[in-house]
Amino acid sequence: MYETIAFYLFSALTIGLFLITVMSKNVLYAMTSLAAGMVLISGFFFILGADFLGVVQLIVYVGAIMALYSFAMMFFDATRDIKERNTNSALVFALGGLSALVLVLMFAAPIYSENIKALYPMHESIGNAQDVGIVLFTKYLVPFEVAAVMLLVAMIAGIILAGKKMDQSLTEDLSADDEILTTKDAK
């Protein structure tokens, strides 16, 4: 019963928040609602019994990724409304709607999958985190390690990319401003 209520509540809220993310002109609003949506999604995970995943969602998404976004926004002018040329929106919404419709129809249809057998069944006796840990460090060890390397690479890449001319402030250093202005003029 609680589960049902929680599901509908979370569903309504995430849809609403993500709509704000997508539609909002203000980056700050968009980001805030995105972060809130992420939290609610972790709620879904908890309902579904994927405790560990929910925690990771909270830490990584809400903690790390959102923090990254907010730091990134400091580089850009986040207070200004974004001016975009959001043309041909009819097509966009039609496509979005169509894809939603098709997907919903597909998922709403009865799924014939009685013969799907669990490769790595869950164990009720032990906790989800332990379960995940066992599978992750046995069957998915190599992908896990690869993912770790990938994250390291991504981190270095991010530092290198963003770190160029880090000594020059984009907002305060006049020479940097000039640089930007000249490139803009050049266009």
Binding site: V22, L95, A118
Partner: protein
């Protein structure tokens, strides 16, 4: 009772919202947000399937997706900063240098 379909439908709706965002927005940062929405929508589907089939594989995939999302954001934001330094804008319409 909430079934698998419910979760999948929510996932589909969220995915479509993300898609609309991807298609509609011209600001690269907003595109990133929309991408996050899509990734999360898929994660819900994975977690739900994992739950209803009593199989951890789904969670594993969701887990890796989160890892990929994290690295994507790290690299992506780095690129955005470089772009912004170079062009002073994150609007896709200003970045059309690959015209064929």
């Amino acid at each position: 009772m909430i079934g698998l379909e419910h979760y999948l439908i929510v996932s589909a709706i969220l995915f479509s919202i993300g898609l609309v965002g991807v298609l509609r927005r011209r600001n690269l940062l907003m595109l990133f947000f929309a991408t996050e929405v899509m990734l999360n929508a898929v994660n819900i589907a994975f977690a739900a399937i994992s739950h209803y089939y009593n199989d951890l594989t789904g969670q594993m995939f969701a887990f890796f997706i989160i890892a990929i999302a994290a690295s994507e954001v790290a690299v992506g934001l780095g690129i955005l900063i470089v772009l912004y330094k170079k062009y002073g804008s994150l609007d896709l319409d200003d970045l059309a240098s690959m015209k064929g």
